[in-house]
């Protein structure tokens, strides 16, 4: 999450869900927490019971709004205007946390001469390259004064840099934030004399605080009301609640989810929230921070240990085809930072290469760094399917995902699948993706679809063991309860055995290109027969020993053998990593999860009394720190800001940081420590600089070159919007967004009368994503059995739509039919004096399953935001009409079944059988 990464240093939720309870005010925005994360929502509810104020800012009155003290309805996509307004309010009324901001943020840092703001350039920042639709941060002088980029002789490579930005090569994950251009990452901030020039008085016109004040001057309450469609009163009440509940004694928390991320400006929305929380002094403190509520059981894990094209494990960028990434040294010089924790980059990469290539990776051959594939373009899902639809892909694997149903502009995704030679789907049910050739009502007949499909039955989570990393960075191990039925296999089994077969196919090859595969360390067999919890032996042959994989991820001291296992000793944490090849680690970030052959910390289930942080339940990265940047919970001198909000503090007697949480800081570095001018690495981080992942140890109000679409958030309209940009009239939508035009992805960019209605998608509690895990299940289907669309009575009347009747929704990409849920929970908004209608579409239905219906994602578009290639499902335009669609309608593809299983429970007397399996003792009357 570059928004958080650029601001604080790590792209993940800062606090834990249980920590909501310590909050005094919770702003839920871009999230429908009660419906999407009901169990997580128990914690805000607890906080509310303890007197906290809950605020929901959202386009739609949802089950979340029903339980908030304050609900403000805004137009979807206007979030930055609202947040910008809050920042403006905090600055204008001087409500910001002075000591905190001065000490822990770059408010006082001076920015290069020549930086120009959206104020100066009518909605553009300096450094924009129109031909590439991208910024060059260096040319734009976004850097710190005195940094290399400030020195003219360093201004090479910029053309190609912008090019890369345009191609959308991200490397965003590197948690200091994205490299926005081809120059070394340190170029923007690396001050020659250690500390960059500052002005503690915050008066200097080029200091960040002054730039901030100028930048957000436009975001007055009146403008906010006009853009968002709320009232000035509603806005000020939100602002006041946040200000009243922030400071030494009180903390506020901000919650977001895909309601923010699924926008072309999503990253900047998160940046805006970060700036606000920093100004209010809410980061690194109990009950504060920014909670990203993520959607999948291990979506955090799949970013940490990524299956992402531009990332290697631990947020190391996938090498790109650039001089900057040519050799290992280039890579380290280019991506590492001389100051702060990223000085250890080389240790991380080398240990990863050792984990990948084992003995083949040696110092003399650069640890086979050259074997890693280089990326020369954007290979993200959206771009890949776009290429697929043009017939440029041969084969594709889909494991536990459903692009044909859930992909943005799902029609394009299905068109892509039809162009493949072969497709492998590993799943539990015949999903849309597996049956696109058969059940898609919009598709040509099967005999015109060439794709060969392998559908491999997968094991359910109860039938395999492994680690899931939840939304609060918590690694939790789940054990295998029983064997999967029939030929069902875990995805680990599938990948492991596919690997074995491929290595066999290639064995003996001397071709250079095959050496990476042949030298891959690929031995995870169980040493002893695998026992199930009930004592019986597993019947599955070839199942990998998942513990061994997690141990490889944890890291090992290769030159020390553990007598108990006869294998290399496991590392106790990432601090033990070396860059000489004597250690390996599949993901440095997870170091310490498996410190001992006997102790898998992810499997820890120890609970101490009281709420607390529960450090012995699972394992939170980094190094079991539950609240990140917690050094900021104490003042610069190391004393808690207040008794009420104490977390960790400096104990002079013990000469170390103590408290309830694992310090996210060097445990013995005293608050008074000051680095020498030429200090490097962690030595360059002072004792009062809590953000150790940042080169300067402080949080970034102003993102000096870490984000591609500007150092500060600016409001742009969604690509499809019925209104213009009221704040920067010359810039309707983000100048850096990549619109992938094509016959399959038409857009209604400029406001058009053909598509006057604003639409957004949302999640229901009763269903899950595109439905593979819910629409095959009777107990969930009956709770929400049909696709519907929520619209206001006003729109219904205007379009002659009956509540409960049928309506059709048409966007430039497609049309669907649905039942009309006419409800006052959706209200028309007055923007620019015009009435703007919004409709909400649950995105759970499509054509496969026991309950089928119109697919909201047939309407959404493929767009790519410049930082992470994120699409824009939360704001697009459409037309709404009464009645049904002509042509074929989807029918259920499986028989809805009343009972999952009608057999009696084994080894259980009649008296203890469940009562619901009614037995018919005579013919029904």
């Amino acid at each position: 999450m570059p928004g958080l990464g650029a601001s604080f240093g790590r792209g993940a939720a800062t606090n834990s869900q249980q920590d909501f309870i310590n909050s005094d005010c919770i702003l839920i925005m871009g999230s429908n927490m009660a419906e999407a994360h009901p169990v997580g929502f128990r914690w805000p509810m607890r906080a509310k019971a303890r007197g906290a104020t809950l605020i929901h800012v959202d386009p739609r009155y949802s089950r979340t709004s029903a339980h908030c003290d304050l609900f403000v309805g805004i137009r979807t996509g206007s979030d930055i205007a609202f947040l910008g307004g809050l920042i403006h309010y905090v600055l204008k009324h001087e409500r910001w946390f002075q000591e905190y901001v001065l000490a822990y943020t770059n408010a006082s840092v001076l920015i290069e001469e020549g930086y120009e703001d959206t104020e100066d350039l009518d909605g553009l920042f300096s450094g924009f390259k129109p031909e590439a639709r991208a910024y060059d941060a260096s040319e734009g002088h976004w850097g710190y004064e005195g940094s290399p980029s400030d020195r003219p002789d360093d201004a090479e490579e910029t053309g190609e840099a912008a090019g890369r930005g345009g191609q959308g090569i991200h490397g965003y994950g590197l948690m200091g934030g994205a490299t926005s251009h081809g120059q070394p990452r340190s170029v923007m901030t690396d001050a020659p004399a250690g500390e960059p020039p500052r002005d503690p008085t915050l008066k200097h016109p080029r200091c960040v605080m002054q730039i901030l004040r100028r930048h957000f001057a436009r975001y007055t309450p009146e403008v906010v009301a006009a853009v968002c469609g709320c009232t000035v009163e509603e806005f000020t009440r939100v602002a006041e609640s946040l200000c009243e509940n922030s400071g030494r004694d009180r903390t506020s928390m901000i919650v977001y989810a895909v309601g923010w991320t699924q926008h072309t400006t999503g990253v900047q929305m998160i940046r805006a929230a970060s700036i606000l929380q920093l100004l209010l002094g809410n980061i690194g403190r109990p009950g504060g921070g920014i909670m990203a509520m993520r959607g999948h059981s291990s979506i955090q894990g799949s970013s940490d240990v990524p299956t992402l094209y531009d990332l290697l494990p631990g947020y190391l960028p996938q090498p790109a085809a650039d001089p900057g990434h040519d050799t290992l040294d280039d890579y380290v010089q280019h991506e590492g930072l001389p100051t702060g924790y990223w000085v250890n980059l080389r240790k991380f990469v080398v240990s990863l290469l050792k984990a990948y290539y084992g003995d083949a990776a040696q110092p003399e051959n650069d640890f086979r760094y050259d074997w890693l594939p280089r990326i020369d373009g954007d290979y993200s899902q959206l771009l890949t399917f776009e290429r697929m639809s043009r017939g440029e892909m041969t084969g594709y694997f889909v494991l536990g995902q459903n692009p044909a149903g859930g992909g943005p502009n799902a029609g394009l995704h299905r068109a892509g699948l039809r162009q493949l030679d072969w497709l492998v789907v590993v799943d539990w049910f015949p999903t849309e993706t597996a049956t696109f050739w058969k059940n898609d009502p919009d598709a040509p007949p099967p005999d015109q679809i060439k794709t060969e499909v392998f559908l491999i039955p997968a094991a359910s989570s109860s039938e395999k063991e492994g680690t899931l990393t939840n939304t609060q960075r918590l690694l939790q191990w789940h054990s295998k309860a029983l064997d999967p039925p029939g030929d069902c296999r875990s995805d680990a089994w599938f990948v492991y055995n596919l690997g074995k077969r491929l290595r066999a196919l290639y064995s003996g090859s001397t071709a250079l290109k095959d050496q990476p595969l042949l030298n891959l360390t690929w031995d995870y067999d169980h040493e002893r027969p695998h026992r199930l919890p009930d004592g019986s032996f597993s019947r599955i042959a070839g199942e990998p020993d998942v513990d061994r994989i997690l141990q490889e991820i944890n890291g090992r001291k290769l030159d020390e053998i553990d007598p108990r296992t006869g294998r290399p000793r496991l590392l106790s944490g990432f601090s033990e990593l070396k860059d000489d090849g004597s250690t390996d680690s599949g993901c440095w970030l997870y170091g310490g999860v498996y410190p001992d052959p006997e102790h898998n910390r992810a499997a820890d289930r120890k609970v101490d009394e009281g709420p607390g942080l529960q450090p012995d339940w699972g394992f939170a990265w980094p190094h079991n720190r539950r609240i990140m940047y917690n050094r900021a919970s104490a003042d610069p001198e190391g004393r808690p800001w207040s008794e009420r909000k104490k977390l960790i503090w400096w104990d002079e007697a013990q000469r170390r940081w103590v408290g309830d949480d694992e310090p996210d800081f060097e445990p013995e570095k005293p608050p008074g420590y000051r680095p020498a001018p030429d200090a490097r690495g962690m030595d360059a981080i002072a004792g009062d600089e809590p953000f150790i992942m940042k080169p300067d140890g402080i949080a970034w109000l102003f993102a000096a070159g870490a984000i591609k679409d500007g150092p500060l958030p600016a409001h742009y309209e969604p690509v499809e919007s019925p209104v213009g940009n009221l704040i920067y009239p010359r810039m309707t939508h983000s100048p850096t967004v990549r619109t992938l035009r094509g016959p399959l992805n038409p857009l209604a960019e400029s406001p058009s009368p053909e598509f006057p209605v604003v639409a957004f998608t949302f999640r229901l509690t009763e269903h899950y994503l595109s439905g593979p895990m819910s629409r095959f299940n009777g107990w969930l289907n009956e709770l929400q059995p049909e696709m519907f669309v929520e619209l206001s009575p006003e729109l219904a009347e205007e379009r002659r739509i009956q509540h409960g009747g049928w309506l059709t929704v048409r966007s430039p990409r497609g049309r669907i039919e649905a039942r009309a849920m006419v409800t006052r929970r959706i209200r028309p908004l007055i923007v620019e004096g015009r009435t703007i209608h919004q409709i909400g579409l649950p995105f759970h239905w499509s054509y496969a399953g026991a309950s089928v219906g119109g697919n909201a994602n047939d309407l959404t578009s493929v767009l790519a935001d410049p930082n992470v290639s994120m699409h824009e499902a939360k704001a697009f335009t459409c037309q709404v009409e009464p009645g049904r669609l002509a042509g074929p309608v989807a029918r259920p593809t499986v028989v809805p079944t009343a009972w999952p299983d009608t057999r009696p429970i084994p080894e259980t007397p009649r008296a203890s059988q469940p009562e619901g399996k009614f037995v018919r003792s005579e013919p029904p009357r």
Binding site: P38, P909, R920, R925
Partner: protein
């Protein structure tokens, strides 16, 4: 820390009860050792914290292995369950109260998880002619599935419309308050699942105290409309062992404004019934004795 869930597996299952035609016919008539009465338990449902997630409905169906009722979209806010039934023992209700645009009345979306009220004096129990409906040792109203013969009198008797008869086996079914779980010291599936503690289970007296404290809290925090439904007996009805905290009229939630126990009138009706008969007999005999030769 309650880890009863982990200890439970150590307990052996009880012996199988006798089966076969003889046992089926005579079993219900055999004398049994009745369990000793235990502390009365029940539900306290705080509707002000219900997030309408329906976890209770699914948890109930999962634990009791109840069938799903098929796909019927009601259009009635998010309530597609529509009613308690033999196969839906929990029912989450949704009430959208929104003023028309412009009008500045408070907007709210009420949610409530409904269930059998487990009346301490239950009409269904009075009605049951077979003794299938009993107050079990926890003072919960329990329909014994091996006894019920589907006469449906309990359905007619229930003032809350809780009980229905299933087409599948012809018996009446309703919430058992997870009798089987309580026997093993586990709390009912719905109460356990409820993420926001809207459904609370426990000794009925404790629940009442908790509810009263909650009412005071809400009243002091600007919700004067909050009150308890069914926690105390009225002139016409007993207290409920599943009572509710509401903020609107009972009828808004589909509850009778003032439930009435029909048994209050039974004896009078018997008298009138007798009167009707006697009137006829007397008249008849009178005529005969007058008109007989």
């Amino acid at each position: 820390m309650n880890a009863r869930e982990l200890e439970i597996s150590a307990i052996p299952e009880p012996a199988e009860t006798p089966s076969g035609p003889v046992a089926t016919i005579l079993g219900p008539f055999l004398p049994v050792v009745r369990p000793e009465p235990r502390t009365p338990t029940g539900f306290y449902t705080d509707t002000t914290v219900c997030i309408g997630c329906k976890a209770c409905e699914v948890a109930c169906k999962q634990w009791n292995q109840l069938p799903s009722d098929g796909l019927n979209w009601s259009g009635d806010s998010y309530d597609n369950t529509q009613a308690l039934s033999a196969t839906s023992w929990r029912h989450v209700k949704f009430i959208e109260q929104f003023a028309s645009a412009g009008a500045d009345a408070p907007s709210r979306w009420l949610m409530m998880s409904d269930v059998c009220k487990h009346c301490s004096a239950a009409p269904c129990q009075h009605a049951c002619p077979t003794g299938a409906i009993i107050y079990n040792e926890f003072s919960n109203v329990y329909i014994q599935p091996d006894i019920c013969n589907g006469c449906a009198y309990c359905i007619a008797a229930c003032p809350f419309g809780v009980i229905t008869r299933s087409d599948l086996d012809g018996h009446a079914h309703k919430c058992t308050l997870c009798y089987d779980r309580q026997r093993d010291g586990l709390i009912p599936a719905c109460a356990k699942a409820c993420p926001t503690a809207s459904i609370q289970f426990g000794p009925i007296d404790e629940l009442r105290d908790r509810a009263h404290r909650r009412i005071e809290e809400l009243n002091s925090r600007g919700t004067p409309s909050a009150y308890l439904y069914g926690e105390a007996p009225t002139a016409t009805y007993s207290e409920l062992h599943s009572f509710y905290l509401l903020v609107d009229r009972p009828s808004t939630y589909g509850l009778p404004e003032s439930p009435f126990n029909p048994w209050l009138r039974m004896r009078g009706d018997y008298l009138r019934s007798l009167l009707g008969g006697l009137a006829a007999i007397v008249a008849m005999i009178l005529v005969w004795t007058l008109r007989m030769p």
